[in-house]
């Protein structure tokens, strides 16, 4: 979602785009170099590789937050060889606890409300399993493109592929309170939302009144991980409208990806504007002047490395017509699996089609590179294929 929303913002600002696998987006003003601006999963170039790496390493992250005097839930990381320290932690802090991967995606995949030794053992066993996503980083829609690889796997007695014995997990004491997610970009606090119901589907609402103390916590937490231009900081707080003094609070997550999907649930208008803020921040960093956003744009699109370009064309036509995109598409060089054409419509719908072509989620085949260069608007009645 982050990549798609930033992509929409980039097209709306009439920038040329080169999209590469795993949501790598290079952009630049027409006539300038495509690549003067770059993003991955919506994370701007200003976030350093080591910044995103630190954010994905929960042990490191916790250590830095604690050194800065920020509160995290009591927790411990352990490997298969660290059973004793886990037992000591449980006897000291008791249940319930939350189990997370010590290194990996943010917000951390977790198993929560663990309330017994038996449940903990079962949770550890499940958490150690390695899914197809772990072992297919090139095609995974879940694993971040900059994530540390987790190829060190072996099979357990049941034939499951599991993490190597040295792989660490994190157990944290379950903490109670209101769950607040804060978004920070370029050293500025942008927005806060609150998780509102314990339903299977996440529900979020905007937080109108967040005490400055907690805005400050979100900003400081982000600053403690050097090299993060954007961060989503999750806090558990007793009352977010009151000051920090006299109440417990915990930083429970610090995510290098903005995770705009949760902001989209809270406010459909807010999420696109936040994506545009990321773009503006990166443009400022890269000294690129942006145009004002347009409602309708026209692009010349060229998709490469499609396995069956001919089969794609009718599906592309129907999809574009359903989404209100006009223009045309035609096959290019078959050896290189090329389809090209004009797409004219709302930036968000064009971005949606291009993202789907890259991920293969809608069209059944994936492109490995798509260029979308801005062109003047034309008069098309609908979308056609040659």
């Amino acid at each position: 979602m982050d990549g798609y929303l930033v992509h929409s913002a980039v097209l709306a600002r009439r920038l040329d785009v080169l999209l590469l696998p795993r949501q790598v987006l290079l952009a630049g003003p027409t006539g300038d170099e495509v690549g003067v601006l770059s993003f991955v999963h919506g994370v701007p170039e200003a976030s350093t590789v080591v910044g995103v790496t630190y954010a994905q390493d929960k042990r490191l992250r916790r250590k830095l937050l604690n050194l800065a005097g920020l509160s995290t839930p009591p927790g411990i990381t352990f490997s298969s060889r660290g059973e004793m320290s886990l037992q000591r932690f449980i006897s000291r802090h008791g249940f319930p606890v939350v189990l997370k991967e010590a290194i990996g995606e943010n917000p951390s995949p977790k198993i929560d409300k663990i309330s017994s030794d038996q449940e903990l053992l079962s949770a550890i066993s499940r958490m150690k399993r390695r899914s197809e996503d772990h072992l297919s980083p090139a095609r995974s829609l879940v694993t971040s493109a900059y994530a540390e690889n987790s190829l060190n796997v072996h099979e357990d007695e049941q034939g499951h592929r599991v993490a190597a014995p040295g792989a660490r997990l994190l157990v944290e004491k379950h903490v109670s309170g209101r769950y607040i997610r804060c978004l920070v970009c370029g050293g500025r606090f942008l927005a806060a939302i609150e998780k509102t119901a314990a339903t299977p589907e996440e529900t979020w609402m905007l937080v109108e009144r967040l005490h400055d103390d907690f805005k400050d916590v979100a900003l400081r937490a982000t600053m403690e991980i050097p090299g993060l231009a954007v961060a989503s900081v999750d806090l558990v707080v007793g009352d977010p409208t009151l000051c920090r003094e006299g109440q417990a609070y915990f930083v429970v997550e610090l995510c290098e990806r903005p995770r705009l999907e949760s902001y989209l649930i809270a406010s459909p208008a807010l999420a696109p504007s936040l994506a545009d803020r990321f773009l503006c921040h990166q443009a400022e960093q890269s000294s690129v002047r942006l145009q004002t956003p347009a409602d309708v744009v026209a692009t010349f699109m060229r998709a490469e490395s499609l396995t069956e370009p001919q089969l794609l064309l009718p599906v592309l036509r129907d999809t574009c017509n359903a989404l209100g995109i006009v223009g045309f598409a035609r096959p290019g060089d078959q050896t290189s699996g090329i389809v090209e054409g004009h797409l004219q419509g709302k930036p968000s719908t064009i971005a949606r089609v291009i993202e789907a072509l890259m991920s293969g989620t809608h069209f059944g085949q994936r492109a490995m590179a798509i260029e979308a260069a801005q062109t003047p608007l034309e008069s098309y009645a609908d979308f056609t294929v040659a």
């Binding site: 696998p21 770059s38 350093t48 190829l151 090299g227």
Partner: protein
């Protein structure tokens, strides 16, 4: 390749002269019923005995588990060294062993102490080392006393040597309860090569060299050798940060933060640094993304295409279209995992795809591209400067005419273990190595001809046991310019290791 010597059953030898002797320990075995149990073995070879090869295996333990008692390993090493130069008259195996042991024990402690202390002095002239040497000397002495007082394990160790040698001279036909012997060398190495923990071989194969020049030895190896896996990179950067007068906060997992007097913080983890963006890593981690970007910037790249790994027919059709030989590699692979080069025809492609399917990334997308002949170079660019250039050679061994493939692999791995960065990047005997050995009709027990290069991996990666040869001083300036252009083609990339295939790194890039 030299064939194994056939057994000569007609005579028992009057004396034995060992041509080669090896000892090795294995990682703790699984206690699986019905299977041979061993954590120690010796392999003796002679040209003038009833059998040309005998291997004796045993489980030698102490009271703390199945691990071979580390303190008696140096005794095994010294026995091998001693026996490797001794003529053993018929029927005197036990007395020769006994004499050897007495001789070893008399000289052992002082020799080892002196050598270790000398090596520590070599790495530093710092006076503080003088103070550190006293407790070290004491600890060493204590360890030696423990080693030689472990009588039961030592007794068993001698039993293994005795069993091998008596079987070799033909005076014993049956195994004891504790020691198993075999002459099936191929089966032995197939079973154990992946489990070898320590090993020694006498006479030792020569040290690796290239065109007469020996491999580099680093004086600070003793300081860094005990770092955990992958920590060396962070450690080297951390040293530089300290040298620049920065304050350093050391963190887990090879990470640290360096801070200057103004409070500016720079964080590092392994070779990940603030000089590069997350986007640049994401782009460089995907081979097709990198290829597409570099091609657009006018840089020379191999022609290739991404496929699902189960799309065999399309892959084969594409290989026909672009022409053999081709290379197959994971789209987002690391450390050369799953890379298979120089696939010359459809049959090899089918086999390569099977091999790919069995690799850890076997279900992920693969890149099929034209095989470009030439040597493989890793060029490191920082900003707009080339700071390092190495030629990477596929994991290989060079025949001596005396040592078998297993000897040479183990010897080279022993040397690699001295370098903390290479300690866990050893030559592996895996499917790729089997593929390479099969292709030249060799096995682990084969003795390659003197000077014969034998390759043991499908890619040149150092992490697959490959070798690196520094060539920076000879690199043609035009190649440096291409490397810098390539690094600058990736937005946000402050430094990178760039892989190039070159015919000649001293010639102008075309």
């Amino acid at each position: 390749m030299q064939p194994l010597k056939p057994c000569d059953d007609s005579v028992a030898a009057t004396s034995i002269r060992l041509s080669t002797i090896r000892a090795m320990t294995f990682r703790p075995p699984e206690l699986t019923a019905g299977e041979p149990q061993a954590n120690f073995a010796i392999h003796v070879q002679s040209v003038d005995s009833r059998f040309s090869h005998v291997i004796a295996e045993a489980l030698i333990t102490h009271d703390k588990g199945l691990r071979f008692p580390a303190q008696i390993w140096p005794v095994a090493e010294e026995l091998c060294r001693h026996l490797g130069k001794t003529q053993i008259p018929a029927g005197s195996v036990h007395s020769v062993l006994s004499d050897a042991l007495i001789e070893i024990c008399e000289t052992f402690e002082q020799d080892e102490q002196d050598e270790l202390i000398r090596s520590l002095r070599d790495v530093s002239t710092d006076r503080s080392w003088t103070r550190l040497l006293s407790p070290f000397r004491w600890a060493l002495g204590k360890r030696m006393r423990r080693r030689l007082s472990n009588d039961e394990a030592l007794h068993k160790l001698l039993g293994v040597f005795a069993a091998a040698l008596t079987r070799l001279e033909g005076t014993v036909e049956t195994d004891s309860d504790d020691v198993t012997t075999t002459t099936d060398v191929e089966d032995f190495y197939e079973r154990w090569i992946g489990e070898v923990d320590r090993s020694v071989c006498f006479p030792e194969p020569p040290l690796p060299c290239l065109e007469g020049k020996p491999a580099n030895v680093y004086g600070d190896a003793a300081f860094v050798r005990n770092h955990p896996k992958d920590a060396t990179k962070g450690h080297l950067v951390e040293r530089e940060a300290l040298a620049y007068g920065l304050a350093v906060l050391r963190l887990p997992n090879g990470s640290f933060i360096a801070t200057d007097r103004a409070g500016t913080r720079l964080n590092f983890k392994w070779s990940r640094s603030p000089a590069s963006s997350g986007v640049s890593l994401a782009l460089c981690n995907h081979k097709e993304a990198t290829r597409a970007r570099l091609a657009r910037c006018g840089l020379p790249v191999a022609s290739g295409r991404i496929f699902s790994s189960d799309d065999g027919d399309r892959i084969a059709a594409h290989a026909e279209r672009i022409g053999y030989p081709v290379v197959c590699k994971p789209a987002a692979g690391v450390r050369g995992i799953g890379v298979i080069t120089n696939i010359r025809n459809r049959a090899e492609l089918d086999r390569a795809l099977q091999l790919y399917g069995k690799s850890p990334l076997g279900s992920d997308d693969l890149l099929l591209e034209t095989h470009v002949p030439g040597d493989d170079y890793r060029i490191v660019v920082v900003g707009d400067k080339v700071v390092s250039a190495v030629c990477r050679r596929t994991a290989s061994i060079v025949g001596t005419g005396d040592h078998n493939v297993a000897d040479l692999i183990l010897h080279k791995n022993r040397l690699r273990a001295h370098n903390p960065h290479l300690r866990l990047r050893l030559i592996q005997f895996d499917d790729a190595a089997r593929y390479q050995l099969d292709s030249v009709d060799l096995t682990l027990a084969s003795v390659p001809e003197k000077g014969q290069w034998v390759y043991l991996a499908n890619s040149n990666n150092i992490s697959r046991g490959g070798d690196s040869i520094e060539v920076l001083d000879d690199l043609h300036p035009s190649i440096e310019r291409v490397a810098v252009r390539a690094a600058q083609a990736i937005p946000g990339l402050g430094f990178c290791g760039l892989d190039l295939i070159l015919q000649d790194h001293t010639a102008m890039s075309r």
